[in-house]
Symmetry: D2
Subunit: 351 residues, 4 copies
């Protein structure tokens, strides 16, 4: 047993983020199975070849999949392939690309983000119009892409109709649509619709498909649904330092996630646990659940001293210092017992 393993408490689980979880055992098994002999590096392996078919079965025959290492990269590589150097991205002020990627879109991608305050984290045609102007004026970074997230950073879920409305409006304006799908499996599971209902069928052009939060060890994918919408993904992925040499293992993981229903089982579990948690705390006096719980996130407003005490027992983040709002995320490995223990602790600390 290593030094590090000794310090690792395997029983500890929390509600800080769905990427605090480890790897789903079926994913790990897929890695083990792929680990024999040699495979051509950098994506010319049989696993990556097969992955194209897996994604096409879900997202239609035009889909092209380009595995990358992480979600920030999937977003930046995809957006970069959609935009010329002078083109810009319209997104919600709460979008992950704007708030949580350390400025990677601007610093590394050279992409200007045109943000809009969006209630519930969701863009609408009306909100898009607030930034979709100035076409042809070199003094204004040219709007080119509308980027939405599903599920959103605020735990809400766009319906297929809502996404279609965004896409139709964007396309009428000559804009393309990017979907940050770090939690797209949670969104599909929440609505009980196939993945393509929220993507291809709704008119999305390019998708960041999330693997890590869905149970992978590592790996996300840029999925081009409209081949006219993206250019040079292969080269951009390389210059963005996202071309994995032993790519067979990223692809084998995704195949394990998507060839059967593992993606759905994992997402349903995470969503169900969030619903269970919300139900358990909603009636505790003094706890407010101010946002709809639609996927695997629960937002709650607690007294700050309760938050402090509770964070000593379970990991989670404060979302808004000024209001005392906190965020609790459920993962594919969150159990009913985990939720019940946490809810009990909340009740206890609130007393």
């Amino acid at each position: 047993m290593t030094q590090a393993r000794r310090r690792h408490d395997p029983a500890a689980k929390g509600f800080a983020s769905d990427n605090y979880a480890g790897v789903h055992p079926e994913i790990l098994q897929a890695i083990v199975l792929a680990n024999e002999g040699h495979q051509i590096a950098y994506g010319d392996d049989v696993y990556t070849e097969a992955l194209q078919e897996v994604f096409r079965a879900h997202l239609g025959p035009a889909a092209q999949v380009w595995p990358v290492f992480n979600g920030t990269a999937a977003n930046v590589v995809g957006l970069r392939a959609m935009c010329a150097s002078w083109e810009a991205v319209i997104c919600a002020e709460s979008a992950h690309i704007h708030t949580d990627e350390g400025g990677a879109p601007e610093v590394t991608g050279g992409l200007k983000l045109l943000t809009v305050p969006a209630p519930g984290g969701k863009l609408t045609p009306e909100l898009i119009d607030r930034q979709a102007w100035g076409f042809g004026d070199p003094h204004r970074a040219q709007p080119k892409v509308v980027s939405i997230s599903n599920a959103t950073e605020l735990g809400t879920v766009y319906t297929p109709q809502e996404i279609k409305a965004v896409c139709d409006h964007a396309h009428q304006l000559g804009l393309l649509v990017h979907l940050d799908g770090a939690r797209v499996t949670n969104a599909a599971a929440a609505l009980d619709v196939p993945l393509r209902a929220l993507t291809t069928d709704a008119g999305v052009d390019v998708l960041s498909f999330g693997g890590t939060k869905a149970g992978l060890l590592y790996g996300e994918a840029v999925v081009v649904l409209n081949p006219e919408a993206a250019r040079g993904v292969e080269y951009i992925r390389k210059t963005a330092m996202q071309l994995s040499s032993k790519m067979r293992f990223v692809s084998a993981q995704f195949e394990a996630l998507l060839a059967g229903d593992l993606w759905l089982r994992n997402a349903r579990r995470a969503n169900a646990m969030a619903a269970r948690l919300a139900a358990a705390v909603r009636d505790i006096p003094g706890v407010e659940v101010p946002r709809p719980v639609e996927a695997n996130a629960v937002f709650a407003v607690l007294p700050k001293d309760v938050t402090v005490r509770l964070q000593k027992r379970f990991r989670f983040y404060t979302w808004d210092e000024s209001t005392g709002e906190v965020r609790w995320m459920c993962a594919f490995d969150t159990t009913e017992a985990d939720v019940d223990a946490f809810a009990a602790a909340i009740a206890e600390e609130m007393r």
Copy 2:
């Protein structure tokens, strides 16, 4: 068994690249062991904490380690942290950063490379002087870093004395030294010296430590040996889209590689197989081995028709179309039987 697994011939091995190999079983075991419960994401986990100690045991108490996803990223993040936006990197014309990274240093890093033709892929003080000039002149990208690779792209190995000569000269000129160590374990094993003899003790400032070719599933590391030499690695790693959420697994792999002697066993094996291959083919009439075989690469000149026939049986790359030179890489999983079968095939095709 998945679609992809069915297409995967586990017996197939070749000599194309050390990253065609899979994962060493002890590394895979470390991943499995780390896969329980929750760990803080993005590097605040116990494995990454322990990794600092592991690297310091090898490289001295000042070493700081920053895991990233791949080798191109380790190089670009490290160099970016060493250079202001207007500063440039002196390297051999054959350096991986110049020839094999798709332009990532320039395109993503905004780094100008000042290249020098370097026999055997190795820089010397004299060769450095060919680009180390123009200090203070804004018309010239300001030389700031000398980047060397060990083992080199040409399969040669710098000795500690050679690296020290480079570092001393660079430091006298006010330059820093970066070492691309994608195969630094092979270099250390080849010379039978500790890792620090080729790095910290020789005066290297920042190191890209290679994991993938040494047997990891994925993962490389930026290792800052001289804390004065690099600034903002933490932030640059994030904006370079190289901050892994489930970082515990990168760190656990590196711990498995470096806490014991796995790194040395793997490197010795790969080097020994290259030596065995060179010995086996050197005397085949018509085969020339034009470069010293010092690590895990063998370069050979073959008749082109032989190369064509041989590549149908074993994967490997032509290095120089004009001369018929080919490159054969051995990996940590190359066996004596693999080498002997390949050597026999070469002999057979040459007849």
Copy 3:
């Protein structure tokens, strides 16, 4: 007479922008006077040497001046010299760097802008706090600079006290302050204070000093007031493609503007004409002047059909399509007759 000159109506003047004006005759005379013999290129000439003294006389002995070609460049070069690659700039949502530079700060500078809705275009300590957080968190682009404009895009003027409050607050937070002074001479003239009252004495670290709108043919300057606040301006200017070869002529123009009181005469004229215009139209029934007229801009709300008819007679821009707000700028060459003719036309069209 050239083709172009024949098409040029020298009598035509409008209220579209202060950069529709030409060059002040005294500036042109300075160019002519500097045009003999040879001078060292790229800034090692006697005019650029003298310019340092001219700026120091205005802005204090620590000031360093770096001429560039235009205002976008002055802003991006200055900000780039203040920020490491991962650092960000807090500014008003209406800031020129955010709205009117085609995305140059992000696309070319790799700078993330953290914007705040700012009434009247002016930041305050309270507004700065809305973005000044997340220090040390690599997921957030690190706030480093507060950038303000004086006069603002909305024609308002910060007082020395207001700037000092911004600077004191920023410095307490470890932030630096950049002032976009494309119209800093108008601001100083409006308040009847010396230039240093709005810059050096108020605590500004780096200044973009506007020349073009003040009457130059071309030329702006990055002025570093706090030498600790900027790094590598010389090199950044070159890589930003802003190093003029015949720099003597930029410097000679600035000397002509600033060695005497030309800057003040020009700014006072432009401001006075805006005041005259505002006074003339304020009482026309149906015309609203919704913002304070503090420098050389007048904003007005007109019926849209009036705007359309009026724009056929005089050039000016609509500021906000939705409200019918238009913007009228006065320049150093705007005359009382120009204003009176325009005001009469407005009155006429409103009838």
Copy 4:
């Protein structure tokens, strides 16, 4: 008289660079003539409109001209408009974009340069082939543009036939051709051919047209000869901070240069003075003129102590410290008396 003017010795002329010269009087006159009333800013003025016709008269009806501030910018904006982010530029090792622009192409443009040692500074089909390979391989920055300079940095001149050979070969390979024409007027004058013989008619796709060294105050132009070859110049110019507000003055200068024969007179003068200088020094014992004198540059090898003494009397640069080679540039304002005085001084110092 200003401070600076007093320090300015109008009689001083040297041989350091053609941009040490001032402005040709006819150019200055054009500025004065354009300086009345208002003109629309940012290029929508009558001078810039007329400029299109002027350039088309020289370079054919497809030419599109985009004025910028300086030569580095013309090169980077043009190349950026020709290349996707992952595409690279083949050029001579001695090219200005590689040696003298402070790394602007890489740092600001994100462009990788693939350099070739080129005798006399001139590329040929054979030399291009040394870098024109690796198409479709994401590990190699994709060659897209061949950039040549005429006249070259070494004072040599490509003939129309030589340029055509480069262009034909490049086009066959799917590459585009960029010509850095900082001294293209000198080249055309040297060969006594029209400008289009060296550009449009030879197959050049995009041209950087040099104004400053040809006698302008400031101003260069990106000229797109093949509209298929460049994309987004208008937007790239803005984000590259090269959109001049008072553009009428850049355009008026170019019109003055090109509408008549001023460009030719200026270039002929400079070339003739270089020829005169070469003739005068070639026979001085101990002075070697190692390169052909084809345009306005003379290279000479002198004893180093002579160079030191001579540089106290006339400004010029040492080209190669190791060989003692120096460079003497003649400008549009170099007179026979200037040359004769300089040649006499050389003879004197050599005695």
